[in-house]
Structure formats: C-alpha cells, structure tokens
Amino acid sequence: MKREQALDLYFIDARSKLIDIAAFLDRADRAPGEDDFRLKAFREALSILGSDEPEKAKRVLLAFSDPTAEPIAAAPGKSACGAWPGK
C-alpha cells in the first residue's frame, strides 16, 4: 500500500478520532477536579504520537501497561480500567 492509498483509506477516519481525543481532553479539563492515574497515563501516551519514532501503537500500549513481573496476591475485582494505577 502506497502512502497516498493509506491516506485515502484512513485520513478522514483518523482525523475524526483525533478531534474526538481533543474534545475529550477539553471535556476533562473543563470538569472540576484533579487528573487521576488514567488521565496522567493518557497525557503521557499522547506525547508518543508527536515523535518520529516507529511503532507508535506498540509504545502507546506499553505506556498504559503494568510493567511489573510478579503475580499479585488477590484480584481487586474482575475488570481492567485501561491504565496501570501503580505509576
């Protein structure tokens, strides 16, 4: 797939998603209160998008991941929340 073809196929969709992210950040910034670990991880992941390095999707996923290696003693619940609270 040539770059022009990639842009033809995905630019409008990616543009829409980028505006959604911008609107999400505006919404969060307008809402009173402090950033929690999720929003901090989100802002950190955003910085990856502006770099010239490859594998941006992988590096964003890593930014949200639990980096520890040992099993935990007990499950705090069944669900994941999308960001590691230990940072």
């Binding site: 797939m1 073809q5 992988k58 003693a73 994941a80 929340c81 960001a83």
Partner: protein, 267 residues
C-alpha cells in the same frame, strides 16, 4: 469468500447471528468456554454449561448447516475461587471425548493473580495429560503485557507442551511478537471498542507475517460483532491484498491449526 470463525461465544448470540454468519461464508464456528457475566455458584452450573456447549449449541448451529466445535475450561475470571475451579477441573475429562470438543480453552489469566496462575497451571497439565490443543485468553488492557509474559513462561515450563498446538489469543501490537517468537500461534481479536480494529489487525499481519496467525470476532454478550472477520477481509481487499492471502488468513490458517485435532472436520 469462505472463513472459519475460530472464537465465538454463540450461547450469547441470537439465532439471527447464525444466519448472518452462514450467509457471509462462515464454514465452521468454534466456541471456547468463558465467563457468563456472573459467577456460577457451583460445579453443577458448569456441568450444564458444558452440556450446552457439546449438545445443545451444535444442534442450534446445525439448523444453519454450520459445524460447531467447542473448548472446555473454567475461565480465569472465576478461577480466583480455587475450590470451585478444582471441582470444575475434575469434571472436564468426562467431556473431552465428546465429538465436537477440540481442546482446553479459553484458559489464561485475568488480573494476573497467584490463584489464577495455579489454576492455569492445572489446565495446562490437564491438556498435556490428555494430549489436547490449548486456546489461551490473555488479560485485558493494562494487564495484557504482564499476563502474556506470565502465560508464556508457564507454558514453556511444561516440557510436554508443543507450542505449535497452542494458540494465544487477543494479541495486540505489544504482545504479538512475544507469542510468535516463542513458537505459539497468535489470535487477533476484532472488537469495536477494545482489542483490535480491522485496520490494526491487518497492520499487525503486515508487520509480523501471517504464518501462525488467525483472526476471530470473539463475539459474546458484550459489544462485539459476529461478522468482524469477513469485514476485515473486505478491509484487506481495500488495501490490495490478494484473494489467496485473504483465504490463507481467514480460512486455511484456522483450518491448519484446528485440524491438529482429528475431530475437526468440515465439509
């Protein structure tokens, strides 16, 4: 177009979905045991569920001429309760000879706890003792990377396990190479809101190769799409992938992996 749906929780879907899948080219559907959305209170609930997977659901699929296969286990979301999990492990061998059972799955981890690890290890031992294929669920979101590493370490620790007979599912960009480099098969799950979109799934295949990869929709009672695999095939066509490459990925690859179980036969 023809495809195999190697991971779908059809007990949670309507009969209309069978019609949609069959008319979209689905040649077989495989259903791993999973969490019902609530914790079952005793082993009797699992006995009934395994009967549903091996008796009732194949009959429902047969009405649409769709071969139905299943995998058995207790899902990691319920394996924190060790007593229940051990009871369920005790009844699984009674079902392994049923004609549509392909192996043990979807086992794995959820929150990466010690109890989940213990039950996963027992599932792996059960599969090895009965020479079963294995289908592994990897954890969600922030827990996936760590869980995938723990799962791979456990599988590699049992010398009876042959990686080519194990598929590790729900890989994403940060875990796919860990899985493939260790010799396992990798499953890419297509979800509207989490896991992979069709575009990302094809990116992964283009970057990592498709030799030991399958695509699945993992449709269940949550937000999911039973036609995600054929829709991804359309996305591949838009990018210029050949009909042969598409057929290899969505039909021949799952056929090759699943045919390691002699019970997997489709018309």
């Amino acid at each position: 177009m023809r495809y195999i749906e190697p991971h779908a929780h059809m007990v949670s879907r309507t009969t209309d979905d069978y019609l949609k899948m069959t008319t979209s080219g689905c040649a077989a559907v495989c259903e791993p045991a999973f969490w019902a959305g609530f914790d079952r209170s005793s082993v009797h609930g699992f006995y009934d569920y395994f009967c549903q997977l091996t008796e009732h659901e194949p009959k429902r699929a047969e009405k649409f001429k769709l071969p139905h296969f299943s995998w058995l286990c207790i899902n990691p979301k319920e394996s924190e309760d060790m007593a229940l999990a051990n009871d369920v492990l005790g009844i699984i061998p009674d079902f392994l000879d049923r004609p549509n059972v392909l192996g043990i799955g979807e086992i794995g981890l959820n929150k990466n706890t010690r109890n989940e690890m213990t039950i996963l290890e027992k599932h792996i031992a059960l599969a090895a003792a009965h020479d079963q294929l294995i289908l592994v669920h990897t954890p969600h979101l922030e827990d996936k990377l760590k869980g995938t590493k723990l799962i791979i370490d456990l599988l590699k620790a049992d010398s009876r396990i042959r990686p080519g007979r194990v598929i590790i599912d729900h890989v994403e960009e940060h875990t796919v190479s860990l899985v493939l480099d260790a010799g396992f098969w990798a499953g890419i799950t297509l979800y509207p809101e989490s896991k992979c979109t069709p575009a990302r799934a094809i990116d992964i295949v283009e970057n990592c190769g498709q030799e030991q990869v399958w695509l699945n929709c993992a449709c269940d009672w949550g937000i999911s799409d039973p036609l995600a695999v054929p829709k991804t095939a359309l996305e591949m066509k838009k990018r210029g992938h050949s009909e042969k490459a598409i057929d290899n990925l969505i039909f021949k690859n799952p056929l090759r992996f699943l045919s390691q179980c002699p019970k997997f036969k489709i018309g």
